[in-house]
Symmetry: C2
Subunit: 332 residues, 2 copies
């Protein structure tokens, strides 16, 4: 494991909580080789039971006996026995680092990779996928593409054999919460403050409200489901910062609901991707997705329209998505 913030801790707690289920239902019994942070980590080449880390779910990693200052991910990946590398360092959508370097190193040394980190895919989606293919390794990132909302599973697994013509999603909980509150009459600034005080929006909410988080998720989903190699520059992005209350009021009066939508569809022989606010009417399958909820609709040639909504977005939801991906790595 690399990264031991909210998601990393939630993942460790989940491994502990689910040990019996993993054993009985999936025949899986995990050992942890290492947990690495930016300034060091814990390492046991032969692996220890997650149970040994029970205290860790709440205490700082560096208080643990065995703490090795300066331990790096590369150190931890060395050795004959390989397993799954779980990447949950913070996303940096400009450089992709440190996750990008970690994932490349893991794939090059024969580790399967499961990650909650979006950054590496924004910077080098194509290269990472190629690297995984060349080494015949899994590279799974459900947790990065909307946490527990199964955007990739549904798009790839449930729709196997169909052709997806378009994808539309409400992919950012913060923006959707703000728009929902604005629909109830709260001004933008107050709705944002409220979201911040509830821990929904970050102190700097710009990635969310300016539409970039939605664009990044759209890039991951389009890349995986449609096999498109987009960059952020290919996506026209408009967020919710400039939305006037009148627009929302008007949508409401017409029985519609304003949502920040990430959308990709085919225009003639090319795909067009964009993020922008849109007024959905009441028959739209995402119309009822409100508050911090998310949802995604796939239009297909043979299965009609398939929509999935819900799924926790908190660290526990992201950790559950990591665990699901790991189960799929082993259970194929």
């Amino acid at each position: 494991m690399a990264g031991f913030g909210h998601v990393g801790r939630a993942f460790l707690s989940l491994l502990l909580e689910k040990a019996d289920t993993l054993r009985s239902r999936y025949g899986l019994d995990f050992r942890i080789r290492a947990i690495v942070k930016s300034d060091g980590g814990l390492l046991s080449r032969s692996g220890v039971s997650p149970d040994r880390f029970r205290a860790l779910a709440t205490a700082p990693l560096s208080n643990q006996s065995g703490w090795r200052p300066g331990l790096t991910v590369k150190d931890a990946l060395e050795g004959k026995r390989k397993g799954v590398f779980v990447e949950c360092t913070p996303s940096n959508i400009r450089t992709g680092e440190p996750g990008l370097g970690h994932i490349r190193a893991a794939l090059r040394t024969g580790w399967q990779v499961v990650t909650a980190n979006k950054g590496p895919f924004v910077v080098d989606f194509k290269g990472l996928r190629r690297l995984a293919r060349v080494h015949r390794l899994d590279l799974r990132f459900s947790a990065a593409a909307a946490a527990a909302l199964p955007t990739l599973d549904v798009g790839i697994h449930s729709l196997a054999g169909s052709d997806v013509h378009s994808i539309e999603g409400i992919l950012n909980g913060t923006s959707n919460y703000i728009l929902t509150r604005m629909g109830e009459g709260t001004p933008y600034k107050d709705a944002l403050k409220e979201a911040q005080s509830k821990g929904i929006a970050e102190h700097d909410p710009s990635l969310d409200v300016k539409g970039w988080d939605t664009a990044v998720k759209l890039l991951l989903i389009a890349g995986s489901v449609l096999e498109l190699e987009l960059t952020l520059a290919d996506i026209r992005v408009k967020g919710i910062t400039g939305i006037r209350p009148e627009i929302i009021r008007k949508a409401r009066q017409e029985g519609k609901s304003l949502k920040l939508i990430g959308r990709i569809d085919r225009q003639g022989d090319r795909w067009r991707a964009e993020v922008s606010p849109a007024a959905l009417d009441s028959t739209h399958p995402l119309f009822g997705v409100s508050g911090t909820n998310k949802g995604i609709t796939f239009e297909t040639d043979t299965m009609g329209s398939v929509t999935v909504t819900g799924g926790k977005s908190d660290p526990r939801g992201a950790a559950a998505a990591l665990l699901k991906d790991i189960i799929h790595v082993f259970r194929g």
Copy 2:
């Protein structure tokens, strides 16, 4: 293939339509060994390209050169080379036949099984699953459990590692269509006639409107996702035949929507399954599922609530679900 009605024909058409996609995207190139109906069939031990059957999508099977009167499924399953047996004879929820015998014979002779037939599972869910396990063969039935709506995929694959506490579904398009029209002021009898004239309801709609179709799908889903071995006798079933317009009007006035819901949840240490009309309020994730649409909500411990809606229910949608299951048989 056994059965060559609407679904069987749609499946053959789909194999033809998707030949290129199956080859390029999944590396799959199918041959058809046999198509068997109740009175005979076509058989080529070495298999022929689906393309050879292009005329069949519309013409009667028995007009085809090579038609063998009296050919049975058992005849067709014989031989060294095994593949996937696709069962799409009509569902009989009392006897399970002829599908039940077909599926048992297929599993016993080493064939993977994919089916759109509900009947065999109502009669012997436990036995069929055990038989598949013993022979280490796949037995997949997405098409029987709500056609292109991915109820089983989401419940098993997307929620892997989580515990499902309850399942609620709108699983019957005919009933939902009738309730939707009643909500718009149409009396039950007229709504039913309308559904029949549009080909949505069958001439004898009793399995649908009395709730049994919903109960059967709930049995398949609960069996697969929760590993419960239910019989229809374990499910309290109430349909929509007795619903008075006042009930629907009242729900509407309260901002609610009346749906026929199949539900299973835990009451203390046991599960309780029932099918009955319920007034959903506007925040319920299935509130907006109207007309012939279907939907299902899973409540989980780690991923929150996950809902999937839509998915075609026509023969093409069922055929697409069969094809998806076949892809999963081969692609793991």
